[in-house]
Amino acid sequence: MLAFKIAVRFLAHGRTQSILILVGIAIAISIQIFVGLLIDSLQRTIVDRTVGNSPHITVSSAADVATIREWEKIVYEVEQTREVSAFSPSATGNAFIRKDNKNLPVLIRGFPFAAADGIYNIGNAIYEGSEYSSRGEVLMGRELSEELEIDIGDKVVVSIPGGGSVTLTVSGFYDLGVKSLNNSWLFTYLDTAQEIFDFGNRVTSVEMKVSDVFQADSVANHLGRKLDNDDIVIDNWKDQNEELLSGLEGQRISSAIIQIVIIASVVIAIASVLAISVLQKSPEIGILKAMGINDFNASLIFIYQGFLLGLLGSLAGLALGIGLLYSFIAFTTGPGEVPLIDLYFDYEFVIRSWLIAIIAATLAGVIPARKSLKLNPVDVIREG
C-alpha cells in the first residue's frame, strides 16, 4: 500500500514528466488501436463485399453439370455443423432467354426463397416487384431486365440447351450489386428449376454460409471428412480467392508488426523514464531502505508507476484511437456518402490491446525496479 502511495506521489510530483510520458503512451496506443481496428475493418469490408452475398462453401457433383444423389444426407450433415449460419440446396442450369430478336444466356437458379435469402440476401436486393410466390415465377436482375425491357408480370420464354422451352413470369427485379450476376441469374423455386431441367428430386449443389468467413476452409474440410463421398466436391471461397487472401494476410502481418513496434516503443519509453526516475529518487529510495522497506516493496514503487502510466496512458489512447477511427470512417465516404470502409468494432481486439498495453507498461517497470534492487542505501544517503 505504501509502495502504491509513493508511486502515485512520485508521478504526481513529477507532473510535467508524467504528462509527457502519458501523452506519448496515449498517442502510441491510439495509433495501435486505430491501425488495428482500421485494418480489421478494411479486411472485413473487402471480404464482405467480395463474398458477403455469396456462398462460402459449395457442395457440388464431382462430374460436370451433374446432379447430386442423396443430397438430403448432405443437408443433414450441414444442419449438424454448428459453424454454418445459412444453407440451401440449389438446382441450377444454363438456358437462353428470348425476347423479340434477342437471345441471351442465363443461369436459372432454383432455391427455396428463404434459404436463398440467407445466402444472397436476395430479399433486400429486390428493388421492384416481389419475391417469387408461385410456380413459374422468377426474379430477374437489373441489367438483364433493362436490356430486354421487361416489366413486372411480363412473361419470358426460356429455352433449354437440350431442347424444349418454358414460359416464366417475372415477379420482381433484383440488384445484387454485381453486374455479371444481374445480367445472367434468374432466381426461381427449387422445384421449378428441377422441373425445367428435368432433375427430378435432385439438386446440383448445396450452398452455405459460415458464421466466420475465415473458417470456411476448415468447415469445408470437416464436412468433407464427415460426408466421405467421392462423387461430390466441396469448394470454399478461400481456395477460390487465394490471391485476395494472400493480400489480406500481408496486410494483417504488416498491421501486427506495426502494433508490436508500437508496444515495444511504449515499453522502452516507460522503462527509460522510470530508469531516470530511479536515479532521481535514489536518495529517497535509499532512506526508505534504511527505514526498513524491503527490496521487494521498494521495487514495487517502480512497477506500480509502470502500471499506472500504462493504465492511464492506454485509457486515453483507447479513447483517442477510437475517436480517430470514427472520424476517419465518417470523413472517408465514397459515392452516395456511403463510407468506404464499414466499421467493425472488434471489442475483443480493443480489450486485448488494452490489457497488453497495461501488462507491457507494468513489465517496463520491472527494468527500473531491478535497478532499484541494487541501490545500496549507504551509497546514496551520504550524497545529499
Partner: protein, 239 residues
C-alpha cells in the same frame, strides 16, 4: 555486561583493485539508554562503523549483535524489519520525501509494514511534532520547510516507531549553531524521556559534549573512549 549494540573484533575491508581496510579489530559496546558520540576526522571510519551498527553495511569479520540479535546471518528482509522496528536513522541530509507532507514523512516508517496508522501512532506523531517544535509545519511539504525544520522532521520520522536505537550521522552538519543546539537538546530530551540509545557520529565537539560518552576513532582504530566532560543532562522531562 552486554550492551544494546555489541561489536566484537570487527574489521572492515573494502575489496577492490587495492584492498582498503577501514576498521581494525573494533570492540565496542553501547549500553541501552545512553547517549554516545563517535568522533573522528574525515576518512577515519566513523561512518562505516555507524553503518555496520545500523545493518546498512556489513563487517568483513567480527560479530555484530544488535538488541541481543546477531545480525551476521540475518536475511535482507530480516535486517529490513530490524531496521524498521529497532533502529532510527538521522542523516546529515534529511532525505525527506519531497512529495509528502511532514506528517506523512514522519508516519512513513510506521506504514512500511502496516496498511494505515493507528490512533496511537498519530498521537505519538503529534507529541513528537510538539516536542521538536515543528507542529506548524505538520501539513507542509518537505520542500516548504527550513533546513532546521526538515532535520527535526527527519528526527521525528526516526522516532515514530519508538526504536530502541537512534543512529545519526552528522545530524547538524548543515545547520547553524542555534539550530544545532536545539537538535542536541532534542536528542537529550528524547534520550531521557524514552530511554532511547543514541549513537551520534560527528566531528563537532559541541555536539559531542551533549552526550554521555565520546569514542574517538583514527585510521579505523579506537584511540579515545571516555565520558563526556560537559553534559547537559538536567533537562526536566516534559509531563
Amino acid at each position: 555486561m552486554s550492551g544494546i549494540i555489541e561489536l566484537t573484533q570487527v574489521n572492515k575491508i573494502y575489496r577492490g583493485g587495492v584492498d582498503l581496510q577501514v576498521l581494525f579489530d573494533i570492540n565496542l559496546s553501547f549500553e541501552a539508554g545512553t547517549c554516545n558520540a563517535i568522533m573522528g576526522a574525515s576518512g577515519s571510519g566513523k561512518t562505516t562503523l555507524l553503518n555496520i551498527m545500523g545493518t546498512l553495511d556489513f563487517s568483513t569479520s567480527g560479530d555484530v549483535v544488535i538488541d541481543g540479535k546477531p545480525v551476521n546471518n540475518m536475511t535482507k528482509n530480516q535486517l529490513a524489519r530490524m531496521r524498521n522496528e529497532t533502529i532510527g536513522f538521522v542523516f546529515q541530509f534529511h532525505h525527506l520525501l519531497p512529495e509528502f507532507t511532514a506528517l506523512e514523512n514522519v508516519l512513513m516508517p510506521h506504514l512500511i509494514n502496516r496498511w494505515r496508522p493507528s490512533n496511537e501512532v498519530i498521537r505519538r506523531a503529534d507529541e513528537l511534532f510538539e516536542m521538536l517544535e515543528i507542529t506548524d509545519v505538520k501539513y507542509k511539504l518537505a520542500t516548504r520547510m527550513s533546513g532546521g525544520q526538515q532535520q527535526r522532521t527527519a528526527i521525528a520520522r526516526a522516532l515514530i516507531n519508538n526504536p530502541r536505537i537512534i543512529l545519526t550521522d552528522e545530524p547538524t552538519g548543515n545547520l547553524d549553531s542555534e539550530t544545532t543546539e536545539k537538535i542536541c537538546l532534542g536528542f537529550r530530551e528524547i534520550n531521557q524521556r524514552y530511554g532511547t540509545t543514541f549513537v551520534v557520529v560527528t566531528h563537532d565537539y559541541f555536539v559531542a559534549e551533549h552526550t554521555d560518552r565520546i569514542v574517538e576513532i583514527k585510521d579505523g582504530r579506537i584511540i579515545i573512549d571516555k565520558k563526556s566532560d560537559v553534559q547537559t543532562r538536567n533537562i526536566p522531562p516534559k509531563t
